[in-house]
Every structure is written in structure tokens, then in C-alpha cells.
Symmetry: C2
Subunit: 410 residues, 2 copies
């Protein structure tokens, strides 16, 4: 037999498994309460409407919907996406173009491919979305990590960090931010900080990736925010969105709205990667936008997730050992919990899975390996009683873990 | 405004537009007879069946079909794919795994990512599938081009070429072949040559990518062939298939069947690229396999494309200027035509489009820039009368082109 591994490219060595995907695989065939993924609650899927739309799309438009289609997406869908985000307060200029991608994961991948040279400096929140970290790391990024608090990225630390990186000879190229309903913490960047971020981006000539899957799910009524894309007068902001959270992830539809030159480079890259994204999915999503299904799904999901968020916070307060703390998520699908010092959430994961619950260890969300005592939990997927039960098990596991290590927790 | 291009990665410079995709874009809004793409004839799409299946899948399995799913594909679909190809004579071993991809383009991309180091030697047929050339080139491949004739790759030239490449210090890593119903020529590699290819692959420890989108469409009754995957006892052959030609390209579903270690590397790469392929598409294709829709589509397409192939050959014989020649396609979707010396098909393309017809210039199918007087034409997409008309226009354009250049054609 051939030794296949001897044929691998050198890039394979730097392929790191996605912690979320691996945990999903681990728990797939077990009865585990998963708080690990970023899965929508199935109760919000508009099944009946989508069943009818899918059938209608194929009957009415089958010759197009079943056929190959342009790399950047089907034109009426691209136009509908632009109108849709405009309606949500996102500025789309004449110089912008929409690129449809196979989930917003592919948008992140194509951006890394077209923008990052090994060694380039990428500014990220600390913690930040782990799959973006993995892709940027694969392309050789130097991470510049900026802490965050309940008002988002600490932009007061931004300029100093950029200066230090530049002194080290790093070509600081862009800022990647989940400014609204941040993954993994659920905080929302204040408009003051957004302004500061944009000023610094302009001063240091940086691109800004505004990764925005969650801004439809703001739970608190007193929140006002302006999209970075809307504040941008210089074509710096690359806006990423997805239908995974507002319609159905199984369609694999994300999108990027950015400067036409960049979108042209992304088009050439996407020609190589997968030619184009599912034509059928695009037409289904197009009909779903036009017929109000997307807007109704957003409303339904926001209500459902807000209730679940409240159940989660109640359970966290009731069960978590003293010394734990967390950001109160103002929106989104996730909470980021710090357990008492001494807990190593990576080490504890197998114990938790054996007891019937999964989460994502915190370390994966930091570029520098910190976050050992943290974890991300998702509150959108499970029904409220299971969510509560999952948190109770995690809390008990942490207490027992600390005892076993000879440490005391309340 | 920002100068976005100044931010591009150095890789962007080596992104070459896909000629096919660019021609499709050029002709999108014009009334042009396109013989350029590899599009199925819309008459073979099982629209009614797929409309019913899509609706049933969402109603019956919505919670799964609309949700995120594993990176390598939904398990029942992966199993159905393995059974399906086994039923078509492709050997699948216990050591093999199925990876579902976003079209077989993504399979090619993920293989390049996981296998090719800059400078590695990749053996290809000359001519060969242009999108594979583009991807391999992007990853820095050194091409070793082997001519073909009506019995496929000239395997008698293989060993010498490998030796020469090795003398130059090239790490010869794999053979990429469309052995059955070759793209762009439609020839089928004889079993003798397949055996020779496999012996040489074994002797020189090469991987073999058997790219097999077209083997369901063999038109001539006297053809027998054995898949390279079936001849393989050493785990060298990576088998690629697609539902684009046997069900619907709009679903974006391809697959790879290969050694489990390689598929694991591909899984990690795919986690970064797009997480997974459309769950909905996978369930639709699963039902379509189980309910015989795929097999019926194959039969319908084979009949339709055989008729069109015959119409095309008749038209080529009737219209093409003296000095033209071509392989008679024994299967597949394409013919590769050599026009008289003096025609530059790249140069002639705009003239042809202005007269209402598009094709793909031959140069794109060669790694060394030869093929200036060749072109690929597709015969599966257009109805027979339009196909005939398209060929008549191409022939007239070639005659006028030669006249304009001061050369004579009959």
C-alpha cells in the first residue's frame, strides 16, 4: 500500500482541526446536550414555507435553478441581498459589489486567500471567532489581539498596539471584528468605539472586515449601533453576512459586500475553489426574502433566543461556582464563561461529554493560547429545559473537576 | 478612497481568470449560442421529480436538511454515494472514505491544497481540463504533459517523461487524468493503457487522480473500460465524481473517494474553506438516488447527448473548412476541433461572439500554451438545430478570419 501521508503538501502540517467541528463529530452519535455549535434552534426553521418555495422554485425556474450559475451569484439574488442589507441600515455604495459565498466561512477563506501574505498583521478581538483565527493562521497572519469589555473592542488600546507591531516591522493590514453581538461574548461595540476604530483604520490605512452574522438578534431595547460599513467613506470596510442564522444554515449561503476591485479578486479565487455556490439555494433564499419569510424568521428567532438567553443567565447565576464570571450577552447566540482559576476547560471536556454535555473550550478563541479557564456556550439550539440542564451539568462538572485537582470551589 | 489593490496578497497575481467562466459572463446578457460551457441540456433535468423531492425532504427531514451538517457530508448520503459508484463498477475498499464536496471543482481544489508543494511534478494529458490546470498552476505545479490519441493518454511516452522530469530534480507526485470520455476530446483510454498507467504509477510511487464526471455518457456500444480505481490494489487512485452531469449542477455536489488518511486531510482543509456542502442538496440527491431519479436522468441524458453528438459530427463534416480535424467523441459532453493552421482561436473569439456564437479557445487546455488553432465545443447544452447553426457560424467565421489574414481556406 502507498504511504499517502508522505505525499501531503507542507501546508497540511499547519491544518488545525476546528474545535467546534471536532466536538460536533465527537457528540454526533451520543446523547449529548450540545452547547458547542452555533446552531439555530430548529423551532425557528420556516419548514412549511421553505418546502413550498423549494418546490415552486424548481417548477417555475428549474432550467435556471438546477443549472450552473455565475461565480459571484445569481444577479437577482445579489440585488435582493443588497436591498435587504440596505433595509437593515447597512450602507451599500455604487462602488460596492455583492459576492455570494458558500456560507460566510467561504467568504472568510476567500478574503484570507486574496489579502494575507505570510507575516501580515491582522488585528482581532481577544477572544474572537475561532474559525477566522484558524484560516488567518493558515495563511500566516501575525495576530495583534485587542482585549474587549462589555462595550466591545478596547479601541483605546488599538493605536499603541499598531505602533508596536509596526516597530517590529509587521505590515499591519486589517482589523477583523464581530462588532455586533460578538462571537463568543455577545457584547456590542459602542458607537464611540466604532468611530475611534474607523479613524484609526483611516490613519493607518487598514482594511476592516465587519463579520456580521448576528446583528439581527439584539435582545436589549436600549441598544443603538451603527454598522461600520455605514460609517465608512473610504471603501475600507468589507461587510460579511449569512443566511445561516436568519433562514437555514443547510442552504450554505453567505455573502460579502465590498469594493468592486476586491470582489473581482474574490471572484477569480472562487472560480478555483468551487466555481459558484448552490444555484437552488440562492433562488430559495431569493423567494424567502421577497415573500417576507426571512423577516418573519428573524422575528421568531429573536424572541426565541431572547427567552433562552434569559433562561441561561438564570441558570448560570443559580449553578455556576463562585469565582465564575461572564459577559451578559446583549445579542447573538453565545455566552463566554470564565470558570474559577484552576479549571482547564480543554482538560475537562471529556469529563463533561461523559456526563452528557458539550461546550467549546476557551483557548480556541484566543490567538495566544490564553483562556484556559474559559468556555463558549451556545444558547440558541437547545430547548430551554435542556439548556438549563446542560448548564447545571457543566457547573457540577467544574466543581468536581476542581475537587479532583485538590482545589476548592463553593 | 483606499487603494484596495495595494492590499492584495501576492497570490492574487497568479489568479488566472477561468476562460469558461469569463466567456459565460461575456455571453450572459447577449443572445449568443453558447458552445462554451459544460452545461447539461435543460431537457434532461428531472424538474417535476426534484420539485416533489425537495418539498418532501424539507417537510420530512427539515430539522436535519436545513441545519449544519458534518464537513465530509451527511452519513446516509456518503453511504449512498459509495453504493451508487460500486453499482457502476467502481471499487470502493474498506480503507476508502467518501468526502462530499461543493462540486467536483472543490474536490480538485482541496486536493491541490493538501497535496501540491510548489515545484511538484503533475502529469496531465495534453490537452486536459482547464480548471484543473488553473488550480494546479496556482499551487505551483510543474506540468508534465503527455499527448493523447483516440485511445487516450499515450502511456508509451509516460515513463520517459517521468525519467526526464526526475533528472531535472522534479518531485513527480501524481497523474491527473480524465480517462473516460476525456475533457476536452471525448476519447476513452483503452484498458491496456490503463494497466500500463497503473504499473508506472506503482513503479514511480505516484498518486492518480481519476476525474470521472462523464463515464455515464458512453455513446458507442463497443466500448469496454475498467475504472482506474477498480484496477488499484495499492490505494493510489483518488476517484472524483459529480452530480452536476447526472442530476443537476445547481445543487453543487461532487465527491471524492480515496484513502482515509487523505480524506482526513481534505476534511481539515474543507473545515476552513466552507465548513460543509449544502445539507439540503445532499438530502435531495440522496432521495434522487434511492428513488431511481438519478439512473433515469443518466439514461435520458445519454440518449439526448448521443443524438446531439451525431448532429454535431454531421455539421462538422458539412461545414468545417478543409484542414480541420477532430477526435470523434465516444462519450462525454465535448469535442476538440483543430482548425487550419493560421487560425488563432483566442484572437477569433470576439468575432465569433459578435456573430452570435461562443466556444472555448484551445490554448487554455494545454499547460504549454500550444493549441492556438484548436477549440473546445460543447454539444450537450443546445438543442440540435441550434447546435448545427452554432457550428455553421463557427466554420464561416474561421473561413472569413483566414481570408482577412490573407490566408486561404476552402
Amino acid at each position: 500500500m502507498i504511504d499517502v501521508a508522505s505525499k501531503f503538501s507542507s501546508g497540511v502540517k499547519s491544518l488545525r482541526p476546528s474545535e467546534i467541528r471536532e466536538i460536533l463529530a465527537l457528540t454526533e452519535n451520543k446523547k449529548v446536550l450540545s452547547l458547542a455549535g452555533g446552531l439555530p434552534g430548529p423551532e425557528v426553521f420556516p419548514k412549511e414555507e421553505l418546502a413550498a418555495i423549494a418546490s415552486r422554485v424548481i417548477e417555475e425556474l428549474g432550467d435556471s435553478a438546477l443549472q450552473y450559475s455565475p461565480t459571484l451569484g445569481v444577479m437577482p439574488f445579489r440585488e435582493a441581498v443588497a436591498d435587504f442589507v440596505r433595509g437593515k441600515g447597512v450602507k451599500v455604495t455604487d462602488n460596492d459589489r455583492v459576492a455570494v459565498t458558500t456560507g460566510s466561512q467561504e467568504a472568510i477563506y476567500l478574503l484570507a486567500m486574496t489579502l494575507i501574505n505570510p507575516g501580515d498583521g491582522i488585528i482581532v478581538e481577544s477572544p474572537t471567532y475561532l474559525a477566522a483565527l484558524n484560516v488567518f493562521r493558515y495563511y500566516g497572519a501575525n495576530f495583534i489581539s485587542i482585549p474587549l469589555d462589555e462595550n466591545g473592542m478596547r479601541t483605546d488600546l488599538l493605536e499603541d498596539s499598531i505602533k508596536k507591531a509596526k516597530e517590529k516591522g509587521i505590515n499591519v493590514k486589517m482589523i477583523y471584528t464581530v462588532a455586533t453581538c460578538h462571537n463568543p461574548t455577545g457584547v456590542i461595540m459602542s458607537d464611540d468605539r466604532r468611530k475611534e476604530l474607523m479613524e484609526i483604520a483611516s490613519k493607518y490605512d487598514l482594511l476592516v472586515i465587519e463579520d456580521d452574522p448576528y446583528s439581527f438578534f439584539v435582545f436589549d431595547d436600549d441598544v443603538n449601533f451603527t454598522h461600520l460599513k455605514t460609517m465608512d467613506d473610504e471603501g475600507r470596510v468589507i461587510y460579511l453576512g449569512t443566511f445561516s442564522k436568519i433562514l437555514a444554515p443547510g442552504l450554505r449561503l453567505g455573502y460579502m459586500i465590498a469594493d468592486r476591485q476586491l470582489v473581482r479578486a474574490v471572484e477569480l479565487a472562487k472560480q478555483m475553489v468551487d466555481l459558484h455556490s448552490s444555484t437552488l439555494s440562492q433562488y430559495i433564499a431569493l423567494y424567502a426574502i421577497k415573500e417576507g419569510v426571512v423577516d418573519r424568521t428573524i422575528e421568531k428567532a429573536r424572541k426565541s433566543y431572547r427567552e433562552k438567553r434569559d433562561v441561561m443567565i438564570e441558570a448560570l447565576e443559580e449553578y455556576m461556582p463562585d469565582g465564575s464570571h461572564w459577559f451578559r450577552p446583549r445579542g447573538g447566540l453565545f455566552a463566554f464563561i470564565y470558570l474559577p482559576e484552576g479549571v482547564d476547560t480543554s482538560d475537562m471536556l471529556q469529563m463533561a461529554i461523559d456526563r452528557g454535555v458539550a461546550y467549546v473550550p476557551g483557548r480556541s478563541f484566543f490567538s495566544d493560547g490564553s483562556g484556559a479557564n474559559a468556555m463558549r456556550i451556545n444558547f440558541s439550539y437547545l430547548p430551554p429545559d435542556k439548556l438549563r440542564e446542560g448548564i447545571r451539568i457543566i457547573a457540577n462538572t467544574a466543581v468536581d473537576y476542581l475537587k479532583a485537582k485538590g482545589k476548592v470551589a463553593s
